[in-house]
C-alpha cells in the first residue's frame, strides 16, 4: 500500500534552549535517580540458584506429552504442532495405532522435539486439538550434547509423569473447558529440573528439588 500524504505527520526537532544546551538539568535528574536507588535499601539481585524465581503463571518452559486416562500417549500424530511450529523443531512419524487401541486410528511412532531449536512460543500447545502437548515450568535443563536435548516421545512422557502432580504444572487444558490451572492465582517457586546432589548448596534452600531430577542421577 502506498502511503498517502495525509497519512504522514511531519515532526520538527524542538529547539534547544540555554539550560538544555548546558546539559546540567539532564545530569542532575540522572544523579537523582541513581542516588534514589542507592539509599532506598531494596535488594534487586536474585540469589539464584539458592532462591528460585517466582515465575509468572504463563511461563513457557520445556514440553511434555500428556497421557490419556489409560496411560497411553494422548497425541494422535495429527502434526498440527509441527505445522504451527515456527522454528520447525517438532518431527513426528505417524503410524496406525496398535490393534489393542480400538478407539484410536493413528499414533506417533516417533516424536522428536528439539529443545534447542525451540523458541518456546507455545504455538504447539495452542494448535494441539487433543491437548497432548503442553509447556511446563521447567526452565533449567542442561545436556552434554545437542542430541541429548532432542527429546523423544518416551522422554516427553517422562516429563509428564514428573510434572503432572506438581502444583505448578497441572494438566492445564481439557477439551472444551479450562483445566484447574485457570483457577490458580499464585504458585510456589519452581525447583530445579537438573539433578541436585544432597551436598550441593542449592539443595539446602527452602524449596529443593521439587521436580524429580531427570535422566540418570550423577550421584547414584
Amino acid at each position: 500500500m502506498i502511503n498517502q500524504s495525509t497519512d504522514v505527520t511531519w515532526v520538527e526537532e524542538p529547539e534547544i534552549g540555554f539550560w538544555e544546551a548546558t546539559f546540567l538539568p539532564a545530569i542532575i535528574s540522572g544523579i537523582k535517580t541513581t542516588l534514589g536507588h542507592v539509599g532506598n535499601g531494596k535488594t534487586v539481585t536474585q540469589q539464584y540458584p539458592e532462591v528460585k524465581p517466582n515465575l509468572p503463571l504463563h511461563y513457557r518452559g520445556i514440553h511434555r506429552l500428556n497421557r490419556d486416562e489409560q496411560g497411553r500417549v494422548k497425541c494422535v500424530a495429527c502434526m498440527l504442532c509441527a505445522t504451527a511450529c515456527p522454528a520447525n523443531c517438532i518431527h513426528i512419524e505417524a503410524a496406525a495405532a496398535p490393534p489393542e487401541w480400538p478407539d484410536r486410528d493413528k499414533f506417533p511412532a516417533t516424536f522428536v522435539l528439539d529443545e534447542l531449536r525451540c523458541i518456546y512460543c507455545g504455538m504447539c500447545e495452542e494448535a494441539c486439538p487433543v491437548d497432548a502437548i503442553e509447556l511446563t515450568h521447567i526452565y533449567d535443563m542442561t545436556g552434554e550434547t545437542r542430541e541429548s536435548l532432542n527429546l523423544n516421545r518416551e522422554r516427553l512422557l517422562e516429563i509428564y509423569d514428573q510434572t503432572k502432580d506438581n502444583p505448578r504444572d497441572p494438566i492445564r487444558t481439557r477439551r472444551g473447558k479450562l483445566g484447574p490451572a485457570a483457577e490458580f492465582v499464585d504458585l510456589p517457586a519452581v525447583g530445579p529440573a537438573t539433578a541436585v546432589g544432597v551436598a550441593e548448596r542449592s539443595a539446602k534452600t527452602s524449596s529443593p528439588g521439587v521436580i524429580r531430577p531427570m535422566g540418570p542421577d550423577p550421584n547414584k
Binding site: 494422535v76 495429527c78 502434526m79 498440527l80 505445522t83 505417524a94 484410536r104 486410528d105 493413528k106
Partner: protein, 560 residues
Amino acid sequence: MPKATVNNQVIEFDASEQLNCIQAAKKIGFEVPHYCWHPELSVVASCRMCLVEVGDTKPDGTVVMQPKLVPGCQTPVKEGTVVLADSPKVKAAQAATLEYLLLNHPLDCPTCDQAGECGLQDYSYKYGRGYSRLQEPKNQKPDKDHIGEQITLFTDRCIMCTRCVRFTREISGTAELFVTHRGTKEEIDVFPGEPCDNKLAGNVVDLCPVGALCSKDFLYEQRVWWLNSAKSVCPNCSTGCSITVDQNEDVVYRLKPRENPQAQGHFMCDEGRFGWKYQQREDRLAYPEQREAGRVVSYGWDDILPALRKQLQSTKGDRIGALLSPWMTVEEAYLLASFLTEISEHVRLAVAPAAIVGSDDRYPKDFRGQPLEPTKFTIRAEKAPNARGVDAVLKHFAKSPLTMSDLLAQASSGKLDALYLVGGDPNGWITAQQADAVKKVPLVVVQDILPSAVSPLAQYLLPGGTFAERDGVFVNHAGLAQEIHRAVRCPEGARPDGRILWDLSGRPGLFNAAQLRKEIAAQIPALAALHAGKLGDCGVWLSEGKTPSPPVTHLAGANR
C-alpha cells in the same frame, strides 16, 4: 446459440454441450458444491449438495420458477433456463445438507489423511454452520481394511456419495464395491473374498470426496498441506497420463492423476500410481565414475564430462555408436543426437525398443474380463513414455536409424570404437547376453539410473535422473507432447540427464527445457509444434498442430 441465465448472468452455450446446472454455473465461474456428481460417472443426485432453484422462460418472456429446489447435477440447462445458485433458499438448503452429512461424521480431521483436501471440510467451511446440534451419540461403524490391497475404508467418515461404487461399475467394470444395508446402516463393502484389486482401483481413493477410502501406501505418511506438487506425466506406459508428483523435502510420496481430456481423462492406473518406487531404491547409481582398466579414476562430474567430450571428439565419427532410450525426453535425445552428429554425420544412432508387456488393457471390462465398448481407459502394452518423441528426433539426425540389435552386432564385430548407451528403463533394458557385445568396444559410456548388466563394463558411468527429477517433453502414443517438470532433486551425485548432456555438449549456460524446445521446433519439422516452448498443462498435438482446448477444470473437492 441457446442462452440461459445463471445467477442473473446470461450464458451462451452450444446445443451439443448438454450442460447440467453445475457445468452451466461454471461458465460464469460460479461453483455449485457437489459430492456425488463427477463428469465421468453417471448421475445419481444422491448427495443433495447441489440443490439449486431452477425456472423456465415462457414464450411471453415471463420467468416461472419451480417451487422446489432441484439437484443441479440432474437438471439439464436448455434455452431460457434460469438457474439461481446463490439465493437464500439455496444457501439454507446447502447448510442443512451439510448438517445432515456431518451428523454421524466422526470429525476426526486431526487423524484423517484427507484433511486439507477434503470436500467435507472445504464445503463445511464455505457453506456449512460452525457447530453441530446433534445431542445423540454418533453412529459408529467399524473400519474395513480389507477393501483392497491398496485401499482401506474408514466407514464412519463415508458420506455415501457412491462415486467409488459407480467407478468400479462404469469405468473399471469390475464392480467389486457395492452398498450394503440401507438407511442409516448404509455402508460401502466388498463381497467376501473378492477385494477391490483391479488395476484402476487406486482411483476410488481420488474419487472419494472425504477421507473414507484411503490409500494404504500413503496412509499416515504425510499431511497433505506439506506436499508440493509438480505437474508431470506418468512414464510407465505410452498412454502418458497427466499426473502430479507430490513431494515434501525432496521425498516423493504419491502420484495423483491430473485431468487432461487430451491424454487419459481423469484417471490413472495402479501400475503407474505405485510404479515409481524405483526412484527411492537404495541401489540407484549415485556417483559418476570414470574407470580405467577396471579401476575408478574419478568420481567428479567436472573431470569426467570434459574428459568424455574430448575422448568422443577424438574418435572417428563412423566408429561412434549411440543407443537412445524411449525413456529419454525429447530434449535429451536432441542434445545427445546433435552433439554426436556435430562430431560426424556418420555416427551410428539407434533407439532401444520400448518394452511391450502383454497387450493393451482396455476398460471397462465385462463379467468375464473382456473389454467392453466404448473404451474408457487403456493401459498400454508399450511400457515406455516417449518412444515417438525419441523416434522423431532420431529420424531427423539419422537417415536410417539402426535397431538396438544391429548396433550391438556392429559393436561385437569390432566396428565401433565408442558406444554411448542410455538406459532409464527401471525394469531393465539390456540382457547379460547383449551386454557381452559391448566388451569389444574400447570406450563404453552408460547413462542410466539403476545398475544393469552393462554398467560394470562402462568406462564412463553417468547416473541420471528419473522422471520426477527431470524437465522435458514426453510424446505419448497418439502424438501428444506433454511437459514433465522436476519435482525433487536427484540423489547427491546424480544429475538430471538434460543437464548431463547439456554440459557434455559444452553448451554455455544452463539447461533450460523450454528454451531448448524452441530450438528443437526450429530444427526438426516433425516437432515444430513445440515452438511455443511452454506447452501448457494439457500439452500440444504434434501432428495436427492444433492446441487442445483447455480442460474443464474441477471445482474444489470434486476430483479428489
